[in-house]
Symmetry: C2
Subunit: 527 residues, 2 copies
Amino acid sequence: MITGKNYIGNTLSANGNKTFKTFNPLLNIENEWEITEAAHDEVDSAAKLASEAYKTYSQFSGSRKAEFLRAIADEIEALGDDLLEVYTFESGLPKGRATGERGRTLGQLRAFANHVEQGNWVEASIDTAQPERQPMPKADLRKMNIALGPVAVFGASNFPFAFSTAGGDTAAALAAGCPVIVKSHPMHAGTGEMVSSAVIKAAEKTNMPNGVFSNLNSSGIEVGQALVQHTNVKAVGFTGSIRGGRALFDLAAQRDEPIPVLAEMGSINPVVILPNALNNRAEDLAKTYAGSITLGTGQFCTNPGLIVGLKSDGLNTFVTTLAEEIVKIEPSCMLHPNIAGAYETNKANAMSQNGLEVLAKYESDVKPNYARQVVTTVEGDTFLNNPTLHHEVFGPFSLVVQCDSDTQLEEIVSNLEGQLTGTVISDDNEISQYTNVVNALQNRVGRIIFNGVPTGVEVCPSMLHGGPYPASTDSRFTAVGVDSIKRFVRPFSFQDWPNELLPNELKNDNPLNIIRNVNGKLTSQKI
Amino acid sequence: MITGKNYIGNTLSANGNKTFKTFNPLLNIENEWEITEAAHDEVDSAAKLASEAYKTYSQFSGSRKAEFLRAIADEIEALGDDLLEVYTFESGLPKGRATGERGRTLGQLRAFANHVEQGNWVEASIDTAQPERQPMPKADLRKMNIALGPVAVFGASNFPFAFSTAGGDTAAALAAGCPVIVKSHPMHAGTGEMVSSAVIKAAEKTNMPNGVFSNLNSSGIEVGQALVQHTNVKAVGFTGSIRGGRALFDLAAQRDEPIPVLAEMGSINPVVILPNALNNRAEDLAKTYAGSITLGTGQFCTNPGLIVGLKSDGLNTFVTTLAEEIVKIEPSCMLHPNIAGAYETNKANAMSQNGLEVLAKYESDVKPNYARQVVTTVEGDTFLNNPTLHHEVFGPFSLVVQCDSDTQLEEIVSNLEGQLTGTVISDDNEISQYTNVVNALQNRVGRIIFNGVPTGVEVCPSMLHGGPYPASTDSRFTAVGVDSIKRFVRPFSFQDWPNELLPNELKNDNPLNIIRNVNGKLTSQKI
């Protein structure tokens, strides 16, 4: 049952008098449940409770936090098909996607449970004392990662499970020892409440302090602003648009005590197709990319919005085939009328740019909120001189840039904004002749892909999901994989601290049997 | 010889028409050499050269970077006593300090050389492909740290060697693979030029690209501002005042592409003395702290500016002895008339606060620029209600807060701003009764010390020098020790990248023999 209330810690609360409804884009009607926006005092209460909870929760052992994270996964699973149904009602995404994304979300929670239970994530470092050292004795110093403080999490419209309420940011923050306050995404607030109920149930079952998790509803920007400006909030996780992420970043930077905003934002994910590959397999590549461009109605942050190649017969074949293939694909439903509307506007704006040629567009009538895909092309010079063409059109849209020369190809890549991914398609070792292009691409992206598609973000330790601004607000961190815990921790040193008072991670006898840097050597041995 | 020119890459340059002189505070006269401020085109040239140099330098092996770092150390050493003399002329610090600080600086450079030569710092992570995985094959993903881009370094007045031209920030950035542009500190611009000449000589000897290092003179704020706003600069390292660090942070956050500012700023380094310790050894503690407060004329960032204790006979003995001891110490010279002047102003302002009692002040006449130490005391309530008393007075000044109760002690600690260090003085296991106080202190600081003094920052892997704002702008990084390299790197993923094109750190046969996380296990084995 969806109450439409907020979770202020373990308590359902609806002090506010503003309500809103979520929307079923497939049926093009509002969903029946009514959501109550969090009132200002509820934001304040959630932040204060989180700060109190932090005092104990941040000190919990890895095993206790793992128990909590696993219980969250179990409770989400226990919601069964009811949860999947609400997910589809609020996103228009198919049930298969809901099931897959739930699996990913449970996997993330359990991966973080294993990660903190295992314990190496604290990166323990010990330099033992040298009391006899000349001219000054050396103190005993021991360092490990500790939790930063309460984290505000802003969920993404396009991943109601995996990047929302109990998604990657929440799992990472809770694993680190940070209480979480979710600003629920208004497009799937019902899904958010159900997932929150699972988190709260898990918190109660595993005796977590009240306030370790809260969930705030809001259809506007005030709740999020108040949260980011609240003195008790110490970091922000965000997935969404550049405009939204930048607004939060600016607010956080302007605080008396600035706090980090880890925002994963937009990207056009450039794909460079080299000449031999175009010559050898233009048709196959075009078919593959027609699929990647329209996957999930083009609503993935790694959607390939830009394809760059050198003018050639191969490129001609590629654009012709891409044009043929793209219109064969059945349009699908976008997440929300607002997103479908923005797609139409941004698409029209792109298509109105001088020099842009439409290769193919889906022409037939579609149901409301369905997105009609478009592929376009442009000369290299035109692209270089028009920054509008460098911006993301969120949806099934892509632009093929036709270059005159290797130099222009390098120039185009060098002038891109920061990106989540870059892809190189190459045959017959031709890539070795394009070192400058590859290096330039590496400087602009967080992940580089060889002979593949950028869509599909594997959850594993070696994944980097982020990249130079505006792909993210801080390229030094990943938003996916267990290393995303690093966003929410800080290293902390104990000097000459008594062994019995040290955290277990730093005690002489290494009771957790973790790997530590002891006097410069990685070891799990006792001291 | 000091030319007073800027180094724009390897070239001495003085296009500007504004000059200034440094000052000898001991002799209270200007030094003879004339320094020319960098002109705007020189800032621009340095940034562009750095960006070009980044393309090759960032790809250099650990061994090549190590060779460069060691050559820098050797060339600084080769400057011999001439360099030490200029250091003393421009800082008023004694020759012994100059020698010690040079040793620390050389040690840092060589420690970073070893660190990048050894190679584990890239935190290599490899998840091998699973082409048969259902429902989707798993790609091969490999991640490692790469250099962020050109770094602007702002040196500190109080460490002309160790936190300036070729100090910790520069060593860390160069080790990471980032070219460095130093905004030389105007108080020791001659020292800065000499050290820069050593860096440039080392760069030429080891065939580094032109632009890997530049040094810009400036007595105002324009050069620094232009540098932080330059599109080719990708990160900033800073050591200095809260006002200065915050100004750069704000500028960097307002850029179209925001960049990280790693600023290590002010701190009052609270010391909590528990009752048994006060009862057992108030006199010894007072003598020790009289020394720590005046060490280096109170110009260390870890200077103990705040001492907190519970009212007791022990505390009375402590304050009486501290008052007696502090005036026995011979005043010493501050770095510059401006710093001496600011000390007088800030000291007078603190001493004028209601309820503040002066315990002792050095009264006799002193030479110009010498600092007369002061210790003061205040009631817990007064301290809590007057934020002015929470701010640093840079120099040999300290404040003893006398608390009425354990609760007030905890409240005081909880209400402190972020600090570099916190110290607990405790006897007879009394600390176990003060868990709340210790936890509160841990939440406010970057390093916690048991039964010691905060002055003395060991350079070792387990050191954390930084802390919650305003001790630093990002508590997730240290400014001291080899882990400070993490400020200037970003993780980067290769997906399905051909083995022969991968960096050596990620190749199957692990040619560098580094420790890598392979499918979740730390190992140096081949794949």
